[in-house]
């Protein structure tokens, strides 16, 4: 009788816990962003994850590093101009699933015209736990200042962020055909920058099971 009472107690507890799970649900991407709000704000405010264009340029030619560039702008902006090998991943289509599909051992750099949409994408993907995530400081506007106009000392005043639109006028939608989409390594202006990429190795993946 005692064993029967324990079984009944266990069954009721498990059923109640399972029903409770159905009622409260699992945290959404928005919930996770809200949960990590302070940490995400600090990360972005520290500018430790905003890469200088000079560093991204170096990464593009670094064969030892797996580089993933995500262009988070809309399709028409991507068609207008984008960096060679940058994948189109508009902010509106990014989700928790996107973070899962990105490799943890790669350096992922988010790109937009200025910084706003890249900042939003950073919050979304970082809240899902994606490692080695960075964004292009000053966006493509600063990139084009340097590699299209040759303004080697151009800088981005992050205290006065601009609108997330391309300042540079392009005659046509050139995509990655523009010379600044992947400047020649030897011919490109060499720029001094503060190195920020620190590769965090993915945690050990332990397989389990009764076997």
């Amino acid at each position: 009788m005692k064993a029967r009472a324990w079984k009944l107690f266990g069954a009721i507890m498990l059923s109640a816990l399972a029903l409770g799970l159905m009622l409260i649900g699992q945290p959404s991407a928005e919930d996770r962003i809200a949960h990590w709000q302070d940490e995400l704000d600090q990360m972005l405010a520290s500018r430790a994850y905003h890469l200088d264009p000079g560093e991204l340029f170096t990464l593009m030619y670094d064969t030892k590093i797996k580089l993933v560039m995500l262009d988070v702008r809309d399709e028409w902006e991507y068609n207008l101009f984008h960096l060679v090998d940058a994948q189109h991943a508009p902010l509106s289509k990014l989700s928790a699933q996107s973070a899962r599909q990105l490799p943890d051992d790669a350096v992922t750099v988010l790109i937009t015209n200025d910084e706003q949409r890249a900042n939003q994408a950073f919050r979304l993907l970082k809240a899902q736990g994606l490692k080695n995530l960075y964004l292009l400081g000053g966006g493509l506007n600063l990139w084009l200042d340097i590699y299209a106009e040759g303004r080697i000392d151009a800088h981005y005043d992050y205290t006065k962020p601009g609108e997330d639109v391309l300042r540079h006028q392009l005659a046509a939608a050139v995509g990655e055909m523009h010379p600044a989409a992947r400047p020649e390594f030897a011919a490109a202006p060499q720029r001094e920058y503060e190195k920020k990429v620190v590769i965090e190795q993915p945690g050990p993946q332990v397989q389990g099971g009764c076997g």
Partner: protein, 203 residues
Amino acid sequence: MQTLLPLDVLGFLGPVGNVLIVIALGFGFGFVLERAGFGDARKLAAQFYLHDMTVLKVMFTAIVVAMVLILWSSAFQLLDFERLWVNPTYLGPGVLGGLILGMGFIIGGYCPGTALVAVSTLKIDGAFFVLGVIGGLFAFGEVVPAFWQFYLGSGALGRLTIPEWLGVDPGLIAVIVVAMALIFFSAAERIEVWAKARKEGTP
């Protein structure tokens, strides 16, 4: 920016501490299996002849309790579910491998983990089973290039869970799995009574 769980044991305790934790968990798991009677091939094989459904009850209880605790921890953001290892799905190899392992289980009376439990209590049949497992591993390693395409490319769906596959909330799956467990437990006990009566020749 990390949740409390899964614990970063490697970060806290270093490689040596990590190994010690693994040994302690392995010992604990083996101890529980042994105490549940899973170091005895007769008890394990009895599952397939419906005489003793302990394996179903113990394993399914472990699964539902772990599932409920993991999902509750994730719901309160104590656990980052994305950082938990989920075996990648390979449909074809999974089905074929399950059938082979099941046949081996019925014939040998153990699965690989319980065979190690049997060895720890010096059971000779367990030791022979472990030798068979090691031999099987070696043979598999030698022949796997011949069916590499099937092994790694057949129904490869990556890290996939049932809620993701069906596109429903994990809580709903938890309710269904718990309901299934309770139905199976109840049925298992009735089957045990029926099998015992049949064995003893009582109507």
